[in-house]
Symmetry: C2
Subunit: 354 residues, 2 copies
């Protein structure tokens, strides 16, 4: 096989379905959505524009998940991605500011989101996945927003309540927006995760991870900050209009699914996590134990080279940590059957021996 | 009724369905999409991420509509709105430029799109809906892009081939991008419309107007310019990811609908246009005869006041020309039955007498 250099996740698109390839690459659930999500599509016939802000019954349903919220506090978006894009552009428009703080390692898209909102990213390095509050206090100077992702992609770490409350205090005092990206909130294995709320907090979430609806593209942002909601609606009016109406109906169906769906899904993820984490320890890897999400982020030497060797010599897909701001680690998504995880571990073991 | 001041189209959202209200407001077809569009949804079960660029079979189908194009020249977007947003942001990113030329009156969203792409709009005034090529040559100086919309919202005018070829020559020489917004291309009543193509031309279109799929949100951009396509894909990777997959299947179904659907729809629009245009002339109004799209744009004194009086005193919705950059005219969409158009004309007549 010709060894074309792999240097971005897009190389792997369309790969991983083959018989003999094990993919720990893409971060999307492999389990299907609840049946209810597809049931609604059978008799759907609407075709006119909907409200830019999103369908009222979907926002009404979402408001039941957030205490003290009301339907007008939500904007339905094309996945969490658009919610992040619009939020950052709104921060830029409302403050005129140019700097946004990211914790590193970060979700792959964040630095690009900041750049495409015509702003500049600053970084605070995590310590074994956790926020270093002293470093945060230094780096936040001059920033107009900070993005928090807990549980996090790629580390799987959940941030402590105490740390988040300290961040909240600083941001309240300085008038800094907190973008709280909670897309993995239903994938927390042990203790509960804590989430900030308030006038300066923009909560971002989606149906993609919780309900396996990545390709359907429904997310939302929620904030009690009316000016912020209005600015986002103003932007979305011109940049994409309403989020697809049938997709919103599918999301609405998901909000009515019994909680047992989420709990059963979580048990599947937990089994995979336990097996994969144990396997990595057995291979002698230095790896953070994921408290949520579905990624392992072990230390592996020269990850940019390793992803090539793993793919071409061992039929194994994994992502380089350098794509997430850490060039000493690799990201392994465990969105696949335990049987495949075991085969993948064997292959990884062979690579590490070699 | 309390007379709350009407000063933007959003005032009318959710209005117009009542028994006694005639709405010439929103620019969306009232006729349903072809049945095929909904048929595909019954058995649809996919849920994973799709290609950011769009589903290959949809791009393949689209490439059959454009001579010499190939599927890689297309990016499927959340309606034409997202195609415009991403195109302008790509122009900004690729050129570092800050000025975009718009013809005035313009589609409501364009100035906002330019602003949200962190650029600045310049204007060239149309003469009775037609481009003034000498003024264009003056105003284009310093611009990195120009948006052409033919047939146009709000005038219904189609631009002449000779004028477009002159614009093309200037833009080729100066390296200026042409964003050709062709969303009304299937709604041309008389002569055929002419469309530019080339490395510097970004064709923008959607399924919304041709197939009555506004709320479903599928559009696209097409250009043989590979660098431009790559930049748009790079942005969309982070700002919204793939366009909703079921929506793309619905669009694909539309590409297989016999041409007779479009031709029959066009005849419906033509009857409405003829009736409404004739009726406005009979009322003594100075109005451009629409060559395409579904809007009439007559001269009416003080339109910002008129929309309030028409709504509160005559149960009639129409938009102020000032929202489109012309404060001596009003926009009337004729996306409704001929019976309602006749009632609307009567009411407009009473207003004009008063």
């Amino acid at each position: 096989m010709e060894r074309k250099l792999i240097n971005s996740p897009s190389f792997f698109i369309g790969k991983g379905e083959g018989d003999n390839l094990i993919s720990f690459g893409s971060g999307q659930p492999d389990l299907p959505p609840p049946d209810e999500v597809f049931d609604i599509t059978k008799n759907y016939r609407s075709f006119k524009y909907g409200l830019i802000q999103g369908q009222p019954h979907l926002r009404e349903a979402l408001s039941r998940f957030y205490e003290d919220s009301n339907p007008d506090d939500f904007v339905i978006t094309n996945g969490a991605s658009e919610a992040i894009d619009l939020s950052l552009r709104a921060v830029h428009a409302l403050t005129g500011g140019s700097k946004v703080l990211l914790f590193r390692p970060y979700y792959y898209s964040y630095p690009h989101n900041v750049r495409f909102a015509d702003m500049e990213a600053k970084y605070s390095d995590l310590k074994e996945g956790k926020i270093d509050i002293e470093d945060f206090k230094k780096q936040i100077e001059g920033c107009k927003a900070v993005i928090i992702n807990s549980p996090a992609n790629p580390t799987g770490s959940v941030q402590d309540k105490e740390t988040l409350l300290e961040i909240d205090k600083v941001c309240r005092e300085k008038g800094i927006y907190i973008l709280s990206d909670n897309v993995y909130k239903d994938l927390v294995y042990d203790d509960e995760a804590f989430y900030l709320e308030g006038e300066h907090v923009i909560t971002i979430d989606s149906f993609s991870k919780s309900y396996s609806m990545c390709g359907i593209r429904v997310g939302y942002l929620y904030t009690p900050n009316k000016d912020f909601v209005d600015k986002v609606i103003e932007m979305k009016t011109h940049t994409s209009m309403n989020t697809g109406l049938m997709a919103q109906e599918m999301a609405f169906a998901a909000t009515n699914v019994p909680e047992s769906f989420l709990l059963e899904t979580l048990e599947t993820w937990r089994k995979r996590r336990d097996l994969f984490y144990r396997g990595m320890l057995d291979l002698g890897l230095d790896v953070i134990k994921p408290e949520g999400a579905f990624y392992l982020f072990p230390k592996i030497k020269n990850p940019d080279k390793a992803i090539n060797d793993l793919y071409y010599d061992h039929n194994l897909i994994a992502y380089s940590g350098s794509w997430f701001g850490d060039d000493e680690r690799m990201r392994f998504s465990y969105a696949l059957d335990v049987e495949k995880i075991e085969i993948g571990l064997e292959r990884l073991g062979k690579y590490l021996e070699g």
